[in-house]
Amino acid sequence: MDTPMSHSEYEELAAGYVLGALEPDDEHVFQQHLSGCSVCEANVRELEAVVGGLAYAAPPVDPPDTLWAGIRREIRPEAARRTSIPAAAPGPPSGAGLRRPRLLPALAAAAAILLVVVLSLWNLNLRDQNAVYRDRVAALERATQLANDPSASLVTLNDQPGTTGAQATVIASSRQDRGVLLVENLPPLQRNRVYELWGVPGGKIDKAEKALVFVPLRRQGTQALQFEVPIQPGTVFAITEEPGPDGSEKPTSQPLLVGAPRTA
């Protein structure tokens, strides 16, 4: 580009520039011009919006589930340290909100207990611990945050005959379709067996949806685990023993622990 270009020639280059199709020498010339030309700068902004729209001409393809799973895996360590559901965000109406007045004291108490637990864990200098501990902290932070969610409900799971001493509580948000399971004293499992938490709409076992697959802690203590599952008013939670490592799509054994939300 030895000869000076007219402005109309620069305008012509703008299209190739936003498409990323200029040759290196043209791109260099145009970038230099762009930094001092408000007309071309405005034109480029408008053309960039057009180029953004061209993406929609591609045949639509659903991304595989593994794509978001990969992103989530990468961001999890940082996300665990900072999670904020906007309290004022509008959400769809939820019948679960009807339970709010009676549950508030329980939820506040749960939040206080969880805060103590989180602080205790913090004192153990968890920043230097492994990913298992980070996940637990994330679950506890999630539980604390859910306790402040007006759509959240606290469900105590009662042990069935044969599981003496097992205790479990679910804090579940119907607005977010997610929750946290706090569980302790579940019996140890045989090899290649797992526990599975289910969300059971209306208590109808044939409608059960997988919420979480886990194995109990080897040592004493409360296990805190996050899960995601559709949650409606009246969703019952149940824990069954299932074949590992991935559990089952539907329950294949009698529940060890079952809990239903309180009804008005």
Partner: protein, 199 residues
Amino acid sequence: MRGKAYRGLRDGQLVELVAQKDAGALEALYERYGRPAYSLARRILTDETLAQDVVQEVFLSLWRDARRFDAGRGTVATYLLSMTHHRAVDVVRREENLRRWRTSDEGLELEPDPKARVEDEVEASERRTEVRAALAELPAAQREALLLAYFGGYTQREVAALVGVPLGTVKTRMAAGMRKMKEALQDAGREEQHPWTRQ
């Protein structure tokens, strides 16, 4: 179903939350733009794994440095899709053997998508129809130049060689095609007001 609490938020608000390392906000943006971004990457790269890598890197880039997004320069949608395009083109230029699409219209359906899912974002579906209609209105030579550059990742000189016309002709065709696209989309009244460009 995920992240109900974020659905009422505008894109710009979600980016602000992402800057504060709010994973739910990133997930909400992914739910809005993950599909068009992945569709674009698949169209350019044709390879599922490479397309996944590109889209993952786009969203991780937003996660790592959301402050780079400048609302004054354009919409969140444009930002994410432009980044997807740039990265996919970078990959395709490194992987010459991926350039299977010798004609730019191949693999594109310029009619409205008959398989659009009911649950597909209404805005995206409308946008797709609108952009395809605008492309279909272009003279074939201009459309070919635009699509070879955009989906094929070809430079203007490469387009000229592929089509068999002088470089200057390609520059003119691209400029005319982009100008007509801009006018068509503005005529549709969507450039500023369309929901998918919400900030």
